[in-house]
């Protein structure tokens, strides 16, 4: 066990072989740190499994098992049933990529939710099959370049839209489904904590940029994740029993180009002789606009906006959270 850090267990600790700046490693570390080591983690096949359990070494410091690609929700169902049979209440958490959630794992996930298993399923959504070298998945957004949706004379990248998986999941009439991303840790924290406070099947979709597959500078992982939200492309929402019960409103909407420019996977859309690329950029802008409209992301401003969600907590030296200050001032 690694006990370097006295303030957390590092459920996912150092020495793993994720790329520098890996969004999935970041997301998984955040989520597992928030849940802690007193839980059982089931992992689908994918980058996370590969880079954390390489060559007889494990980066996990909690009970963790990987079976195969598609079945993690079903394995977790069995784990949870076994715990119930043994009278234990250890939390059970599934971690899967978008392939293991949107595509090959969707059936098992649906079954798990329908049967009401007390499991938190966390999807680290990096919008393609990164482990196998960047192939498109049903999570890959429109117009993205992957090795199986390559741009060419007749193509501007992926032809199809990103699957709206959160709606599919929430339609199971389940206790809690939410989207989150690494850029907004306070928001992610609140959602993990909320999910962990509930019983039954719960689902988190955490957008996790991939420097390799999205073709961006390793340092930009958080920045790009933030822009995905601020452009409206990736709304941060909460759903309970099929209804939207929370959205993180945008302090302002950023133009889609701010997001696209930073990523090589959209590079083919720019600097075109013909204007096909421009059409796709406008299409992506329209998709973002539609999501903003659908979830009311720019409606009357509330307390909970991107600005406040990004705010930092102050601990220790000069530690005082702004909400506590406000309370103090008003009292």
């Amino acid at each position: 066990m690694d006990t370097r850090d006295q303030f957390r267990t590092n459920v996912l600790t150092s020495g793993h072989r994720a790329c520098a700046g890996c969004g999935e490693a970041m997301a998984a570390r955040m989520v597992t740190d928030l849940i802690g080591p007193d839980a059982i983690y089931i992992n689908a096949t994918g980058c996370l499994q590969v880079f954390t359990t390489h060559n007889q070494q494990s980066a996990w410091q909690a009970p963790w098992m990987h079976s195969v690609f598609a079945n993690s929700a079903a394995v977790a169902s069995g784990v949870e049933a076994a715990l119930r049979a043994r009278g234990r209440s250890t939390p059970v958490v599934v971690q899967a990529g978008d392939g293991g959630t949107f595509d090959i794992g969707l059936q098992c996930l649906s079954g798990m939710i329908e049967r009401g298993h007390d499991v938190l399923f966390v999807c680290y959504d990096n919008e393609a099959y990164m482990n196998t070298g960047v192939q498109r998945s049903s999570s890959t957004p429109h117009a993205v370049r992957t090795t199986t949706s390559p741009p060419g004379r007749l193509s501007e990248g992926k032809h199809h839209l990103k699957k709206d998986v959160i709606s599919i999941i929430a339609a199971h009439h389940m206790p809690y489904a939410a989207t989150a991303t690494v850029a907004y840790f306070p928001d992610l924290k609140a959602k993990v904590e909320k999910a962990m406070s509930l019983k039954g099947p719960r689902f988190l979709q955490v957008l996790s940029p991939c420097p390799l597959g999205w073709d961006h500078d390793a340092a930009l992982t958080v920045q790009i994740s933030r822009l995905a939200v601020e452009t409206g492309l990736f709304p941060l929402i909460e759903m309970e029993y099929g209804d939207v019960t929370g959205v993180m409103r945008l302090a302002r909407q950023r133009p889609i180009e701010d997001y696209l420019h930073l990523q090589g996977r959209f590079k083919h859309l720019f600097g075109h002789q013909n204007d096909n690329g421009n059409v796709e950029i406008r299409h992506l802008q329209a998709l973002a606009d539609a999501r903003i409209q659908r979830y009311g992301l720019l409606d009357a401003e509330t307390e909970w906006t991107t600005a406040s969600a990004a705010q930092t907590e102050r601990h220790g030296r000069g530690g005082y959270s702004i909400s506590a200050v406000k309370q103090e001032v008003s009292s």
Binding site: A20, C22, A219, G318, S331
Partner: protein, 540 residues
């Protein structure tokens, strides 16, 4: 079958740090507030402490450099706020409000300054002048164990803080309270003592191992080029001194104040409180006005000018005095004209008036507040260049005439005196730090929260009661929490949370990067709100 399960955390045997091409380094920067503070206060540090409600620690942090926070919180021109990076996000931090709160709280709670050492040094130091520079120097020396004696010509300590600043800006009780706390360190104060009169230069040199001359600039600049008579004419410092000594003055109905500095404004506002109609004749532009050169703007604090106008003082900008208009001895007013250039080619203050713009300004009294000079009389020997063991500081050293500058000068002088006495050169740590500008910050992480300004009393003109109210604890907390902590870690945990490799280890007093695992992605540096992390290329 033991190999079928893997030991937890066993990847730590694999050092991914070998992948790294650049490394993050935590590095404290020098925030602009601290850089611009003439007293070199570590403003970021005490705001951080205040935001944590560590009031006493915050006060002690200020008083490392400035033993007069209650004073400076009121009268300082606070360049810290002008330079504050937060200005570009929304509005600057109200630093002076926090400072004043802490100074007042210290007085209220009776917090005492502590000596750094109980050892009494053998060398004695004389400080001439009990103004802010002298008090600051004496304070620093006394804390470090040096026996200090302060000499002052006046009958009460404080220098111009006492003589020139009216009560409604700085109540005497505040000044006295802080001076008493300084003197409580064991400093001897000898009032009504003029060097060259009550005490000879020689005995000062004989009795002390070092001398700090902080005699101020008290001699009013002569206005004889304008008018030779002294009837119905006085200097601003004299006027303020009289008021601050509590003398009751009766003024004519109309008073003209000549000058654009803080003294001029103070004079005007005092005269206003004494019932006069007051007009300030100022050769520079209104502060913040667009035309003209920056140093062609009125040197008084903009908000002081605003307060004055709010109180009914008329300020005539870009206006100069050509002559006083007299009927015999009797003063009937001032002939004023529009000003062309404020400074001459050598950069000296030398306004040029436009012909044909003359107007008459009616006044029964003209007060000149056009600056002061150092009065070296009685100190000619000590003030010779190269005199060993003598240091000149404060206004007397020709520095800009601000209280904070004098306090800073007092600190630096104390350090120089110690260096002289010990032979060990002083260390200025901040000078090795780099700047942190607005673009070095990640402002996304700071919630927008508007600045709070202090409230004012409603009835200002009936007496000399202080007009600006101090912050409440809640307001102070709120302002302190607005600090962006430029270039300095404030334990936000971003690097700790965001590191995909768990290579940031949280410690009770900050963070440490475990270079065994850091892959050098650069996320921590980019996402650090305060610009505290630098990325460096790995070499070799």
């Amino acid at each position: 079958m033991s190999n079928l399960s893997i030991e937890p955390g066993s990847t730590t045997a694999y050092h991914t740090g070998e992948w790294r091409q650049q490394r993050p380094v935590y590095r404290d920067k020098w925030p602009p507030c601290g850089q611009s503070c003439p007293a070199s206060e570590d403003i970021q540090a005490y705001l951080a402490l205040a935001s944590n409600k560590e009031w006493e620690a915050a006060w002690r942090k200020i008083t490392e450099r400035n033993p007069l926070p209650g004073v400076t919180g009121r009268v300082c021109h606070h360049p810290c706020e002008t330079s504050c990076n937060r200005t570009q996000l929304d509005t600057s931090i109200n630093i002076h409000g926090v400072e004043r709160f802490l100074g007042d709280l210290a007085h209220e709670k009776g917090w005492r300054h502590e000596r750094f050492t109980e050892v009494s040094q053998p060398q004695k130091v004389a400080v001439v002048g009990a103004g802010p520079a002298g008090l600051s120097c004496a304070f620093q020396l006394a804390r470090r164990g040096y026996p200090v004696t302060i000499f002052d010509a006046m009958s009460a300590p404080g220098g111009t803080l006492r003589s020139a600043i009216p009560d409604y800006r700085l109540p005497k009780s505040v000044l006295s309270g802080e001076i008493d706390a300084i003197l409580a360190l064991g400093i001897e104060l000898r009032l009504d003592t003029r060097i060259g009169q009550e005490l000879s230069e020689q005995s000062l040199q004989d009795d002390f191992d070092a001398v700090f001359l902080a005699i101020g600039a008290l001699k009013p600049r002569s206005f004889s080029s304008i008018d030779k008579s002294d009837h119905s004419v006085m200097s601003g410092t004299d006027f303020l001194q009289k008021i601050n000594r509590g003398k009751s003055l009766s003024l004519p109905k109309q008073v003209a104040v000549i000058g654009g500095g803080n003294t001029a404004i103070d004079v005007a506002r005092c005269a206003r409180r004494l019932g006069a109609q007051v007009t300030v004749v100022c050769s520079q532009d209104r502060p913040g006005s667009h035309h003209g050169h920056a140093d062609a703007q009125m040197p008084a604090l903009p908000q002081e000018a605003m307060h004055a106008e709010a109180e009914g003082v008329r300020i005539l900008f870009r206006t100069g005095v050509r002559r006083l208009v007299r009927n015999g001895q009797h003063l009937s007013g001032v002939e004023i004209s529009r000003v062309d250039q404020v400074h001459d080619r050598q950069g000296r203050f030398n306004p040029v008036l436009f012909e044909g713009t003359e107007t008459f300004l009616s006044a029964g009294l003209v007060i000149f507040a056009i600056g002061q000079e150092v009065n070296k009389s009685g100190l000619e020997n000590l003030m010779k260049d190269g005199e060993l063991g003598v240091i000149i500081g404060g206004d007397a050293a020709g520095k800009p005439r601000f209280a904070a500058t004098a306090i800073g000068s007092g600190y630096q002088s104390a350090m120089s005196i110690i260096a002289y006495l010990t032979g060990i050169p002083p260390v200025y740590e901040n000078h090795q730090k780099t700047d942190v500008t607005y673009k070095d910050l990640h402002t996304q992480y700071y919630p927008l929260l508007p600045r709070q300004d202090e409230l004012m009393t409603e009835d200002r003109l009936s007496d000399f009661t202080e007009i600006v109210k101090g912050f409440s604890q809640g307001e102070t907390l709120c302002e302190a929490s607005r600090c962006l902590s430029c270039g300095v870690c404030f334990d936000c945990d971003n690097c700790w949370h965001f590191c995909p490799d768990a290579a940031v280890i949280k410690k009770p007093n900050g963070y440490e990067i475990d270079y065994n695992y850091c892959k050098g992605c650069g996320i921590c540096a980019l996402e650090c709100p305060s610009g505290h992390i630098d990325m460096q290329r790995e070499v070799g």
